[in-house]
């Protein structure tokens, strides 16, 4: 699996990322680092503990990282979740959180597959 295929699998925009970050090496380096960023775990935990202020910040961070790496699909859902939590809990944030979970899983699966192949 190439990095380009990985981007396709996670619903990202490969060309945009390369265009902005200027090198395949850099994009690959940070995509591989994406899984070790703790913001997703923080988001899940904060939602469980109903700490919506923290959950807002975590969603905001995910959105920012996705923007930097052009992971568009997860960026869109985390951005919606972020807005729904900006002023505390809102009823629609539960459904939006589910979307983020699904998109994150898809992204993580794509990166893990890419990681396995590029390592092997």
């Amino acid at each position: 699996m190439t990095l380009q295929e990985c981007y396709a699998a996670m619903g990202g925009n490969y060309d945009d990322a390369i265009g902005r970050l200027r090198s395949e090496r850099l994009v690959q380096k940070f995509v591989l680092k994406f899984l070790s960023d703790g913001s997703y775990e923080l988001l899940c935990r904060s939602l469980e503990e109903k700490n919506y202020e923290e959950a807002f910040r975590a969603a905001h961070t995910i959105k920012g990282v996705c923007q930097n790496l052009s992971i568009d699909k997860l960026q869109a859902s985390s951005s919606r979740l972020c807005e729904s939590l900006r002023n505390g809990y809102t009823p629609e944030s539960d459904a939006l959180a589910e979307e983020v979970r699904a998109d994150y899983s898809q992204t993580a699966a794509a990166i893990e597959a890419f990681q396995k192949e590029s390592a092997g």
Binding site: D16, L21, F30, D37, S39, T61, G64, V65
Partner: protein, 697 residues
């Protein structure tokens, strides 16, 4: 600059990945410092200051967000020297607007283009560096200009001196004394409304006081003997001549320096009593600048050798001026001279040598600058500052002390690394008075006392020493806090915070307490000893001299036989038992002590029925300890009836006790006049001696 290190960029973002992306784009050319939230960012700015060339700042972060960081940077004026580029996914125009209002240089929204970030960072740093270089150039130039104009005035006044045959130091001495007098005067009174810049201007202008002498014939000027009336009349024209020279300047007549110089030239020979020249002004009609220069002129003339006279000593010169032998001066100025007089010789010679040293140093710096063309004075200051910072943090780490720095605005405490670790706090604490873990370390009353003490210091005496307990991760220990309040250089100075250290004195304090206890208490019974009880009683009487007190002395009847019959250790047990009973039957505020042997003392305050109080105590002390019957004899003296202080009171109670002993023991009595000449209990009573009068009250 060839030896330049990499410039430093501070990245403040809570996402490690975001920081890593930015760092990756920039770390070839710049040294990257990272902070994971706003609080840490502020801490690093506080520590590293203008070492940091640029800040890349996120908005949404835990602890303190990007706007919070900008507010702190604005309060401390850091934002004026350190450019900030904000990077955020927040694209709402209100956010961007607020960021610019708080002083950011640039705003980059996510997703960002690596090339653009890189270019903007480079541009911003270059722009600021250029601005800084220009500011330094201007500052250096102004400094140079000022040096040049005071040099010109020095040359000019030296020409006048040269012609007068005066010592080359006259102008410098007059200027120094003028400055000392002015500074002293403004501390003493607000009558003359002199600002620091007025003072500096008067001092500069003082150098010109005698320029009018250029128009006086040299033969008169340097005549060794006394002037004839005609010669003196010519001589007197020099003040007006100097003033006219300034008035007729083709340019600069309106310059404040020229106006002050005019006043000084024209009126530095006026007298407070109106008998001076040229105008015969009276009192404060004479401008204060001219009054002071006149006095300084006279003082220096007296203490210097001239062609027509020898020099007088400092003391003699001051005496002559104060006695009115050399003119009439403003009494306020004479007060100033009198008050300055003891330190004056040292101050005068000190300031001359300072001026010389200054000149030497200036030459050195100038050479230095020539050697390193690019190194200007201001940059050198920065390097020295950084060196100091490095030195400080090294010694702070080595010293194993809690060192702290506190600023009032923004409220923030910075602790030394070691100190933070030992108190279980973070090194940088924002808003410390509202942080529960910080407030747990010290009692609120101590915080208040310490704050009050620091605020009531002055810039001259800013150091406070305060002992209190601190909580070292759960253990409260006695600690000595030595702190120095920091004051702004404004007028009046503002309290801006404090620096200081906290020293653990718990062990020595505890040792001292134990020693004090040992010195003040009887080892066997744990009651106070006589000497210490006396001290406490005297304190009590002194605090409330009008209250009614009773001093009671009692001893055990037949104690000797208890010792003889059952042995000394039994005797000791009896005493311990009695002391315990005594403790139980007195009130908290009463003082109980073992005076010696089997004699005890009670000191108590009473309201009305002292007899009832004493009777209750007497009854509770009687009883039995094992096989030994406890019976006491007791004598009491009241402050209401026995005047003359502690010794008289003790003696009277002793006499009352003696009377009880003679009267058959097992009772208590108050002292009265009939006992005046009785003996003391300290001398033992023989059994079977005749009892005196009936002792029952």
């Amino acid at each position: 600059m060839s030896t330049e290190q990499k410039q430093k960029i501070l990245i403040v973002d809570d996402s490690e990945l975001n920081r890593a992306i930015l760092a990756d784009m920039l770390d070839d050319e710049y040294e990257i410092i990272e902070a994971e939230d706003g609080l840490q960012g502020v801490g690093l700015l506080q520590q590293r200051g203008s070492e940091i060339s640029l800040v890349l700042l996120d908005i949404v972060m835990p602890q303190m967000d990007g706007f919070g960081v900008l507010e702190v940077m604005a309060q401390n004026h850091w934002i004026e020297d350190i450019p900030v580029i904000m990077i955020s996914a927040e694209t709402g125009s209100s956010h961007i607007e607020r960021a610019y209002e708080l002083g950011v240089t640039d705003f980059i929204s996510r997703p960002f283009d690596a090339l653009i970030v890189h270019r903007r960072v480079v541009n911003t740093i270059m722009l600021y560096a250029k601005q800084k270089r220009l500011a330094n150039m201007v500052a250096d130039q102004i400094y140079e200009n000022e040096q040049r104009s005071s040099l010109l005035i020095d040359i000019l006044s030296h020409i006048v001196e040269f012609r007068n045959g005066e010592s080359g130091l006259h102008v410098l001495n007059v200027r120094t004394l003028t400055e000392l007098m002015l500074n002293h005067l403004v501390q003493k009174t607000e009558r003359y409304q002199l600002s620091p810049s007025d003072i500096s201007m008067i001092c500069t202008a003082s150098a010109l006081h005698d320029i009018g002498k250029i128009s006086i014939d040299e033969k008169i000027l340097n005549k060794p003997g006394r002037f004839t009336d005609e010669e003196f009349a010519v001589m007197k024209t020099h003040s007006m001549a100097g003033a006219e020279m300034l008035e007729n300047l083709p340019i600069h007549q309106d310059d404040p320096l020229v106006k002050v110089a005019y006043d000084i030239c024209r009126w530095h020979h006026e007298r407070w009593d109106g008998r001076g020249y040229p105008d015969g002004l009276l009192g404060d009609e004479i401008p204060i600048a001219a009054q002071i220069v006149a006095l300084a002129d006279v003082y220096d003339a007296l203490t210097s050798k001239r062609c027509y006279k020898d020099s007088f000593s400092h003391e003699k010169a001051v005496d002559m001026i104060l006695a009115g032998q050399c003119g009439a001066f403003n009494p306020l100025l004479l007060d100033c001279l009198r008050e300055l007089s003891p330190d004056l010789p040292a101050l005068m010679s000190g300031s001359n040598s300072v001026a010389q040293r200054d000149r030497r140093e200036m030459r050195n710096v100038a050479q230095e600058i020539r050697r390193h063309e690019e190194l200007t004075a201001s940059e050198r200051t920065l390097q020295l500052l950084e060196h100091e910072r490095m030195k400080y943090s090294f010694f702070a780490d080595m010293s194993k002390e809690i060192q702290f720095e506190f600023t009032v605005s923004p409220p923030m405490i910075t602790l030394s690394n070691w100190g933070a670790e030992h108190l279980g706090l973070s090194e940088i604490i924002m808003d410390p008075f509202h942080q529960p873990d910080t407030m747990n370390v010290i009692d609120p009353a101590d915080t208040q006392n310490l704050s009050d003490a620091l605020r009531s210091t002055s810039p001259d005496l800013p150091v406070v020493t305060y002992d209190c307990k601190l909580n070292y991760k759960g253990a409260w220990r006695w600690t000595q806090i030595v702190a120095r309040a920091t004051w702004s250089s404004d007028e009046p100075p503002r309290y801006t915070g404090a620096i200081g250290k906290a020293i653990d004195i718990h062990d020595s304090r505890m040792k001292l307490n134990a020693l004090e206890r040992m010195a003040s208490h009887d080892a066997l019974t744990g009651l106070l000893n006589h000497a210490y009880a006396k001290k406490r009683i005297l304190e009590r009487i002194e605090t409330r001299p009008t209250a009614s007190y009773a001093l009671v002395i009692f001893d055990l009847d037949h104690f000797k036989s208890a010792n003889d019959t059952y042995g000394h250790s039994f005797g000791d047990q009896v005493l311990v038992h009695l002391a315990e009973k005594l403790r139980q039957c007195i009130r908290g505020g009463d003082i109980a002590a073992r005076v010696g042997g089997d004699e005890f003392l009670i000191f108590l305050e009473y309201k009305d029925d002292v007899d009832a109080v004493l009777s209750r105590i007497f009854q509770s002390l009687c009883g039995r300890f094992e096989q030994f019957p406890l019976s006491v004899s007791m004598g009491a003296a009241l402050t209401a009836t026995v005047p003359g202080g502690y010794d008289a009171l003790f003696h009277a109670a002793d006499a009352a006790l003696y009377t009880v002993k003679r009267g058959g023991r097992g009772q208590y009595r108050f002292y009265d006049e009939s006992m005046r000449d009785t003996l003391s209990v300290i001398s033992p009573i023989e059994d079977g001696q005749d009892p005196g009068e009936d002792v029952l009250k």
